[in-house]
């Protein structure tokens, strides 16, 4: 995963400074999203084109205790993204509307064990794993104020991802409703609210 981090950093800071040093405006900030909390950096290449990258991380504990069975698990989501953004500056009624596309390197995993309370016997387990490389495209709106404060919101979708769900049944058969519910949790969309500073 260190290699992926270096790639993102190179994409964010090194490449822009050598290849695209034209507009010379950088930006950094934090955001919250459907995929977790993240850090974002970007380089405004021109008035219409921006290159950026971000790191997103989230860990959620899955705990549930029923009369007979308890569920104990965790979902870990780490995402490294690089993207290019195009601003539609000539739209009359709003400035800052953009479309973007890029790639993401994902390390997304979920494990949950179902355990019988009275005996600690394994009733079943579920493992979910997502493919590491996907394309991400989206639409959003970005505003930079004169004092440098920057805000954006965007909706992004995954393109070309895969999700594997492995069910292990020990004492219990997972029914089709449970499976359908789980398989719909594939996080295909990422809604991002970003706050940053332009310098």
């Amino acid at each position: 995963m260190k290699i992926q981090l270096y790639l993102v950093l190179i994409f964010l800071f090194v490449l822009p400074s050598f290849s695209f040093a034209k507009y010379n405006t950088f930006e950094g900030g934090v955001f919250t999203s459907s995929w977790g909390i993240g850090l974002q950096g970007s380089y405004l290449y021109s008035n219409e084109i921006l290159f950026g990258g971000d790191i997103i991380s989230a860990t959620r504990s899955i705990k549930s205790s029923g009369t007979y069975v308890s569920v104990d698990g965790e979902i870990t989501v780490k995402t490294y993204e690089g993207f290019a953004r195009y601003y539609f500056r000539d739209i009359e009624y709003t400035d800052g509307f953009f479309g973007q596309g890029g790639f993401a390197i994902r390390s997304w995993k979920m494990n949950a064990d179902y355990v019988e309370n009275s005996t600690a016997s394994k009733v079943g387990s579920i493992k979910m794993e997502w493919s590491p490389y996907v394309l991400v495209t989206g639409l959003g709106w970005h505003k930079i104020w004169d004092n440098g404060v920057s805000f954006s919101s965007s909706m992004n979708g995954v393109w070309g991802g895969k999700m594997n769900v492995d069910y292990e049944e020990n004492l219990y058969q997972f029914d089709s409703n449970t499976k359908t519910e789980l398989e719909e949790l594939d996080y295909p969309l990422n809604f991002v609210i970003y706050l940053g500073y332009s310098f």
Binding site: D90, W130, L139
Partner: protein, 205 residues
């Protein structure tokens, strides 16, 4: 707005949220029950009976080598399984283990069939034997303390017991670690004659 911008926006809208292609696999890690796995004595904890002032303890002894089993229910006059009153023994043989399936509640179980070999009651006190003889319990007057008397095919109180050589159907559930089993709830039979639910209390080896 230029027309190519509209096209770009539309393309992005279309390809956004295509999502992840989902693939699934299901692995059956439940115990595949055999007579070898069942072989031995499995015992339930002491339980209060319906009357609450008395108690009982149930054990099943499976014999893997001869495909038979005896379910022994020991009834006590006390609440914590002391002072034995009588013992009910349900004996089956020719056990045939079926394949794995699941109940309506999705519990993985294995059905099995057998043949009733005998059902007996053994009074453990002379007072009880005398009382049973006086009441002509199960239509019998040959009760004796410490001796088993067959009640197969008899009606005792409101319960009618299976006759010798009657078919027997039950189910068994075993955890993956093979440390306990559960059997079927014989008071809830399905249309196929097997219990449709699992009795919650467990037998430990």
């Amino acid at each position: 707005m230029k027309s190519y911008h509209i096209i770009i926006v539309l393309i992005m809208l279309i390809i956004s949220g295509c999502g992840n292609e989902v693939s699934t696999s299901t692995k059956d890690e439940s115990a595949t029950i055999t007579m070898a796995y069942l072989d031995g004595t499995w015992t339930r904890e002491c339980e209060l009976t319906d009357k609450s002032s008395t108690s009982a303890k149930v054990a099943i002894n499976f014999s893997g080598s001869s495909d038979n089993a005896t379910k022994t229910t020991t009834f006590y006059t006390g609440t914590i399984c002391y002072n034995t009153n009588y013992i009910l023994r349900e004996k089956i043989n020719n056990i045939t283990i079926g394949s794995k399936t699941a109940t309506a509640a999705n519990l993985i179980i294995t059905k099995y069939t057998a043949v009733t070999l005998d059902i007996t009651i053994e009074p453990k006190s002379t007072a009880l034997a005398t009382s049973l003889n006086d009441a002509s319990f199960c239509g019998l007057t040959s009760w004796s303390s410490g001796s088993e008397t067959s009640i197969a095919g008899k009606t005792c109180s409101s319960t009618t017991y299976s006759s010798v050589n009657d078919g027997f159907r039950d189910l068994v559930q075993m955890n993956s670690e093979r440390t306990y089993i559960r059997t079927g709830n014989t008071s809830e039979l399905g249309s196929d004659g097997y219990p449709s639910t699992v009795y919650y209390n467990k037998y430990f080896k």
